[in-house]
Amino acid sequence: MGEMQELSTFWFVTFGAVKVVAVFTVVMAVVAYMTLAERRVSAFIQDRLGPNRVGPFGLLQPIADGIKNIIKEETMPGTAAKFYFVLGPALAIMPAVVTFAVIPFAAPLPTPVGTVDMIVADVPIGILYILALSSLAVYGIVLSGWASNNKYAFLGGLRASAQMISYEVALGLSVIAVLLLAGNVTLTEMVWKQQQLGLWFVFPLSLAFIFFLISALAETNRLPFDMPEAESELITGYHTEYSAMKFSMFFIAEYAHVVTASALMATLFFGGWDIPFWPGDDMFRHEGAWIRGFDESGAPIPTSPSVLITLLTLAAFSAKTGFFLLLYIWIRWTLPRFRYDQVMHLGWKVLLPAALGYIMLIAGTMLVLDQLGVAYGMLYGLVLTAVSGVTTLAFLFFVDRDRVISGAHRKRPGRARVARPAGGPAGRTTSS
């Protein structure tokens, strides 16, 4: 085949609508089952059983939760700013559900009327759209924290805004490394570039992946960065005053963010829907035809989309995203929450300079490789992998000893140690 048939406007709109509904439904279903998975996995980690009464293995639990949350009484604090109090959850949930639109989730699907891209909206600004929208979510949190007229909610909102701003920077900088290598901001092209490189970006950009992972945890307000909620300090932070479905909406928003962040990590660093070690699924729209790559002489190798490849790549994408969802849960139930100053310290004094330095390093390496005439391919990737690997090890070594984050007490320079009281060495006995 090779040549591709463009969709007529009618079919484009029809398939667009179907994709919107399908993706929204799937994301919501994943969110619902993510809550169940979170509870079951956390239970297993803690040697409990988790919810297992509703349906086989508790599989109907999310439905029961949903029904319960809808029919529960909604409370409205008497002193709350009513309009903004209601607006908060709506603002929080909207960006969370629309960001998935630009993530390609499978190889193009051939239909009798033309080839359908397996992405809701292949907008040319891709990643910028995600960065712009995902940071809007903080408005919902800040607004609901303020409108609740509750000091804990307010503190939660404040923390959320400070944390979002700090980690948005590190997130953006880690993405810049990907943009340098991919040379474009569309996510479809990033998948294609990873297929061309023969290596997923996690290898040549290993440190960027670590930065992205840390910042994504912070951006989605998940442990160990769930400062805005911080049950032990702030009750539940910004949603302290919310109940029933409004409370649920914050939860849906949080989990939708987690799903999007996982899908994004899979797309940016783990090849998106690419199936590893198999060039057969490589597919990209090049001058009006589907190509698999370029041969030695630079001529395009044609390929054609098939339903089987679409299904296989969809499975690959789901598996990768699922892995990151599990990683999110796994990290949450392992790590304790950071102290607030540690979060700020990590964001501004560690991630920001490190990410900046890393970008310079990657850009420099790429410049050298380009000057040497190394073609974009396996060798190019391996050199970058070696450079990144060394940097990553150095970074991990640096943050490992408690120079950055630790509960260890730090001797303040210029402050004399407190004199020990007489009557025995301090730290062992106290007389009374």
């Binding site: 409990r48 260890a408 301090a426």
Partner: protein
């Protein structure tokens, strides 16, 4: 008098790790995630194994002809620390004493088992049974008929294999 207080010293800066500790923690949680230790008893389906000395719902022993073994001696209402046994004794024409009213308020009972210990004819017993939920508070006062109907195993207050309760 000197009181010893153990003060935990925080580790000095530079002597702790974060990355390695995180990885260690993650591997620990992963081990539990894939192979959780089973400690939960799924109660309504699985029944707990009660100790032979478990003291639960009361039970009145019955003669072969259906009369309660109680001779209305009045010892159990006297000894009961929670004062939850109500006894009105009577005497039949052969001079046998029997309880006309015998009620135990299971709500007030503290299940100490002293009624069973003190009973001279081994009539009242506490039993190895705990599922006595009801829909109303009034149902918790067990009358004589109800006490005689109970058929769960009675408590071994004194375990012959463990005479010194060790």
């Amino acid at each position: 008098m000197a009181i010893s207080v153990k003060v935990m010293r925080r580790p000095e800066a530079g002597r702790t790790s974060y990355m390695r500790a995180t990885l260690k923690g993650m591997s620990l949680t992963f081990r539990h995630m894939v192979r959780p230790t089973k400690v939960t008893l799924e109660y309504p389906e699985e029944q707990p194994e009660l100790s032979p000395r478990w003291r639960g719902t009361h039970r009145m022993e019955v003669h072969a002809d259906g009369r309660p073994k109680c001779v209305a001696c009045g010892l159990c209402p006297t000894v009961c620390p929670a004062n939850c046994i109500r006894l009105v004794g009577g005497e039949d024409d052969q001079g046998n004493r029997y309880p006309i009213v015998y009620e135990i308020d299971e709500f007030r009972c503290i299940f100490c088992g002293m009624c069973q210990e003190v009973c001279p004819v081994e009539a009242i017993h506490v039993g190895q049974h705990f599922e006595n939920a009801e829909y109303g508070r009034d149902r918790f006062v067990y009358d004589l008929d109800r006490l005689m109907e109970q058929d769960h195993p009675t408590t071994l207050l004194w375990d012959p294999s463990d005479p010194r309760s060790e």
